[in-house]
């Protein structure tokens, strides 16, 4: 009987077959194919950047100017948002903790959430919206006005000249800004704790700092801080790669630049969130 034969198939075979059918159906959809093409393009761009790391000394001038515009240009936004995020964290958790008389733990909670999660994530979102969109618009304008073609004709290596300094600058500045975000967030949490939740400054700081001192198991460094900074280092690279490739692919005048910019912001936020999940899973599980 055919049914018996089907029943005797291992369960996994069904799942694999289903996955294949699903993949085939998805492949028929244009948006999915475009997505795969884009992802492949971005991975290739990343590989191209990595292969040109030794060009950095020649690109110092652009690297510095990009660091300046990514860092100095956005530090005020990061500080403002970070402060409020810390205040919100303290308020949200503080009210619950107070019900159990556990406000003493506020410093601990705020500092770990800022260092592990909120600092890197919020900084990445801000940079995607400000620096990433500017990147995509800049490269997009270059693309639609034939400047990228001109570079190609002049045998100027576009990845080394344009992409490398931008990617590295963001990989450096994203962790830097994250430190500011973490610090100001913890400070903001402290304000709220003292002003609204009757925690003493001393208590808040003690728990906040001791939480950040927790060393990693294998490497004796404060784990939460460095894990957060590592995440934001990756986020910075992701945002820059996604924005550069979206910008360089722009076509068709001002409209194309606009489309590239919005795609850059959308995709870099999505990429950041997905990467965030996997990095957290890698580091903490």
């Amino acid at each position: 009987m055919p049914c018996a034969a089907l029943d005797s198939l291992p369960k996994d075979a069904w799942i694999i077959a289903l996955a294949l059918v699903l993949a085939y159906l998805l492949w028929q959809r244009k948006f999915f194919r475009d997505f795969c093409d884009e992802t492949a393009g971005r991975l290739l761009l990343l590989a191209a950047v990595l292969m040109r790391l030794h060009h950095l000394p020649r690109r110092m001038r652009w690297f510095k100017s990009q660091m300046f515009s990514a860092g100095i240009g956005n530090v005020h936004v990061v500080l403002l948002v970070g402060l409020f995020i810390g205040m919100i964290l303290a308020m949200q958790t503080g009210v619950e903790l107070a019900r159990f008389g556990q406000q003493d733990q506020l410093g601990f909670l705020v500092s770990t959430s800022m260092a592990r999660e909120m600092g890197p994530f919020v900084t990445a979102i801000i940079l995607a919206a400000t620096f990433g969109s500017a990147l995509a618009a800049e490269l997009g304008t270059m693309s639609v006005s034939d400047e990228l073609t001109a570079l190609e004709v002049l045998s100027v290596d576009r990845v080394s000249f344009l992409v490398l300094p931008r990617v590295l600058a963001l990989m450096v500045m994203c962790p830097m800004l994250t430190i500011f975000c973490d610090a100001v967030g913890i400070l903001g949490g402290g304000f709220i704790s003292v002003a609204q939740l009757n925690v003493s400054w001393g208590m808040y700081w003690d728990t906040a700092f001791s939480a950040l001192q927790t060393k990693a198991q294998f490497i004796p460094i404060p784990k939460d801080v460095y894990a957060g900074l590592f995440k934001s280092f990756i986020f910075g690279g992701l945002i820059a790669i996604v924005s550069c490739s979206a910008g360089m692919a722009a076509q068709g005048g001002a409209l194309g630049v606009g489309r590239a910019t919005s795609r850059a912001v959308r995709d870099s936020i999505i990429a950041t969130i997905i990467a965030n999940y996997f990095l957290t899973w890698m580091i903490y599980s």
Binding site: S145, D146, E147, T149, A150, V153, L154, S155, D157, F161
Partner: protein, 254 residues
């Protein structure tokens, strides 16, 4: 058409550009349907044709930015289908390309724009590069524009800078994509004289895509009329403008 009246090449060395039966389509849109022509050393060839007939596409084939679907593109004796990426880059150093909109890098000054290909691809010292940049700026009659940014200069000056950048590597072949686009008649005239001057003093071969008759009359030795994806008329410049071909007459408005 009147291709017989174009002088035959003495030897293959004299042919700088040769297109043989080049076809190109974008999706279902067939743009080039068998374009063939030869450009001899030291000559200036004009390409005329309506908007969207594939003039820029033809130039892009010659500089290796596009590959033909069918047919052969030979530049300086090499079949572009057979050259490696490195060889193509080497060849491009011997070709100058003047873009329709200038395509200057906006965040570099004029002098930095000119210096860029030299910094990237040669081992020249800083002072050598500087003197070369100054020499080319003087050649296009804007010796003082070096410190300005592209956004601070006029359209005519941008064209001059674009030409100077194309000349920076001392190319043997220059491709102009609509050098007169967006310029008023007076500035056009000065650009056309500059192009003539460049091709005479530097003895370069040039290919000019343009639909202004005056420009072609000033600079070209022979002219091609692209129509329906093919070379419809190919004739020396004075014959071209007295052609009896009805389509060409319609295009020229005579």
């Amino acid at each position: 058409m009147s291709a017989e009246s174009i002088q035959a090449p003495q030897s293959d060395d004299d042919v700088v550009v040769r297109l043989t039966d080049v076809h190109k389509a974008f999706g279902s849109k067939q743009i080039l349907r068998g374009v063939s022509f030869e450009l001899l050393r030291g000559r200036c060839l004009g390409i005329m044709g309506g908007s969207g007939t594939g003039k820029s596409v033809t130039l892009r084939h010659i500089i290796g930015l596009m590959r033909p679907d069918q047919g052969k593109v030979e530049v300086m004796g090499r079949d572009l289908a057979e050259v490696t990426r490195e060889e193509l880059q080497e060849m491009r150093k011997r070709i100058g390309y003047v873009f329709q909109e200038g395509a200057l890098i906006n965040w570099l000054t004029v002098a930095e724009n000119l210096a860029l290909p030299l910094q990237e691809n040669t081992k020249l010292s800083k002072s050598e590069i500087e003197s070369k940049v100054q020499e080319k700026l003087a050649l296009v009659h804007i010796p003082d524009a070096g410190a300005k940014f592209p956004s601070e200069i006029s359209g005519g000056m941008k064209k001059r800078v674009g030409l100077a950048r194309a000349l920076i590597t001392d190319p043997e072949l220059i491709l102009y994509d609509e050098p007169n686009a967006g310029l008023d008649p007076e500035i056009s005239r000065s650009i056309n004289h500059l192009m003539r001057e460049v091709s005479e003093t530097l003895n370069v071969t040039s290919l000019v895509v343009e639909h202004r008759i005056e420009c072609i009359k000033t600079v070209a030795d022979e002219v091609i009329f692209l129509y329906d994806g093919k070379v419809h008329v190919h004739a020396p410049v004075d014959e071209f403008f007295h052609s009896q071909d009805s389509v060409l007459k319609g295009f020229l408005g005579i």
